[in-house]
């Protein structure tokens, strides 16, 4: 088990090295002479006005929140799903109740109109 974590770490580090190596080679091989015009953000060939960092419509965050709720619940399902065959009918019913609550939550959000993109 521990050796597996070591493996994972190795792979992760390899991935990082792969990227950094790529950047390094690119820096070595490719030209590097930036100038203000080149570094201008792309806005279809016009000089951009204002910043890109603007406040955003709340529509995005509603979905982010919904995701957070559901994803956490879904993670709880994993151990249940793994042992479902061993825990029998009682475990099934308990899981289904949880699932129903989740489903109800979705219906609730739906009826409240949160699933409409603004």
């Amino acid at each position: 088990m521990e050796i597996n974590i070591l493996y994972l770490l190795t792979i992760l580090v390899t991935g990082v090295i792969f990227v950094l190596g790529g950047f390094f080679v690119s820096r070595l091989v490719g030209p590097n002479n930036p100038n203000p015009v080149k570094r201008e953000p792309y806005e279809c060939g016009e000089i951009p006005f204002g910043e890109g960092w603007t406040r955003f419509n709340v529509g995005y965050y509603i979905f982010a929140l919904l995701f957070l709720i559901f994803e956490v619940e879904v993670v709880f399902f994993f151990p249940w799903a793994v042992v479902l065959r061993e825990i029998g009918v009682l475990g099934l019913i308990e899981g289904l109740i949880f699932l129903f609550v989740l489903f109800f939550g979705l219906i609730f959000a739906w009826r409240k109109g949160y699933l409409v993109w603004h």
């Binding site: 279809c44 060939g45 006005f49 204002g50 406040r55 419509n57 995005y60 603004h118």
Partner: protein
């Protein structure tokens, strides 16, 4: 608020912000700049800025003789080059009182309808690409090649044909012309059904276009929109029917009209127009006299008599009108080119208001803008 000056920096308030769409943007199809006011994804307003390919063709016209100006008319809406040539030829013929031989009139019709088809083929492909489906683009181009080949055989040119001239057409068609065109019509008619299968039947296309960007007929009329953009709203207006020119009165065809005025309607109208064009081409091929002159005798330098002359044709994008003011010399006093795209584009801000940025692309695509035509 919708008309903000071009180069002052804008202090965005909390939710709205401005973004330049174009001149270098994949969906503006040419160099059109739209200043889009957004709140999140929703378009609050659009200010078009045009003129990036303004070449001063109207000014050039004042220094060119009638014959010399023909090539420039091909370079307006390069996809309706024949129709634009025709408009100029018609104005000159009207001014100088030139009779056009019958065979030439038929050739003009066939060429115009072919170029309408080729224009719509290109539009159809690009429309698919604007909506994220790249494959239709190449299907459209594949079929367009055939039309271009026909043009190339007769005119020697594939795009800016410069074929229709004062008093007829430049020279007689290629000897394979009739065979080629008939082959093309037989090939292309079932191909429109394939277009339907590939794109029109797709549920995503329908979701993306139905009800999106409704341009109601009253607004469209107010803005002087013409062509499929207007007819999609249920206004049965087609220059070929309402102000017939050439031999169009002899042709039996229907103007393609839809009722909804949305992007889907504009799409359907264009597909139907291709079918109607095929029908016209077939009739013209049946009726065309086998022999005969194709060009009336015209002087090298045509004197344009004093007066005002207006000629109107139905180009692929709508009504192309040409206003010629003569002063008795060979150089015109003034030539005004009324391009369909110019007026169609002016209705865009009204149409896109409240739609999302992806719909802006759809609507713009179904308006079918060609910038050299608008900027002249």
């Amino acid at each position: 608020m919708s008309n903000i000056p071009a180069d002052t920096s804008i202090e965005p308030d909390f939710e709205d912000y401005y973004v330049n769409m174009g001149p270098q943007h994949p969906s503006t199809h040419g160099v059109l700049r739209l200043i889009v006011k957004l709140a999140g994804e929703t378009v609050l307003g659009v200010t078009p800025h045009i003129g990036f390919v303004h070449r001063g063709i109207e000014k050039m016209a004042e220094a060119l003789t009638a014959q010399q100006f023909f090539p420039l008319t091909s370079r307006l809406d390069y996809l309706s080059a024949h129709m634009n040539n025709w408009a100029w030829a018609m104005a000159i013929e009207k001014a100088a009182g030139i009779e056009v031989p019958e065979r030439a009139e038929y050739i003009r019709i066939i060429m115009s309808e072919l170029s309408r088809i080729s224009s719509h083929q290109l539009w159809w492909g690009v429309f698919g690409m604007d909506l994220g489906a790249f494959t239709p683009f190449l299907y459209g181009f594949r079929d367009r090649e055939r039309v271009n080949d026909i043009f190339e055989k007769t005119c020697g040119v594939r795009l800016t044909m410069n074929y229709i001239c004062a008093g007829g057409v430049r020279e007689d068609v290629d000897r394979d012309f009739e065979k080629d065109v008939r082959e093309f019509t037989d090939y292309f008619e079932p191909m429109i059904d394939e277009y339907d299968r590939l794109l029109s039947g797709n549920i995503i296309i329908q979701e993306r276009t139905k009800g999106v960007g409704v341009l109601d007929p009253e607004t469209a009329k107010q803005y002087g929109c013409t062509g499929p953009t207007l007819r999609a709203g249920g206004v049965d207006y087609d220059v070929r029917k309402n102000r017939p020119y050439g031999l169009y009165p002899r042709m039996d065809f229907k103007t393609a009209v839809a009722t909804e005025g949305d992007s889907w309607a504009r799409y359907v109208v264009r597909l139907e127009e291709m079918r109607q064009s095929l029908k016209i081409i077939r009739q013209a091929l049946d009726q065309i006299p086998a022999e005969g002159p194709v060009r009336a005798k015209t002087p090298m330098n045509i004197k344009i008599p004093d007066g005002h002359y207006l000629s109107r044709v139905e180009a692929a994008r709508g009504e192309f009108a040409l206003y010629l003011v003569g002063n008795g010399k060979i150089l015109p006093q003034r030539v005004k080119l009324r391009s369909p795209g110019f007026s169609n584009l002016s209705a865009l801000p009204e149409t896109v208001k409240g739609w999302r940025i992806a719909d802006l692309v759809t609507i713009m695509s179904t308006f079918d803008l060609v910038m050299p035509d608008i900027d002249r």
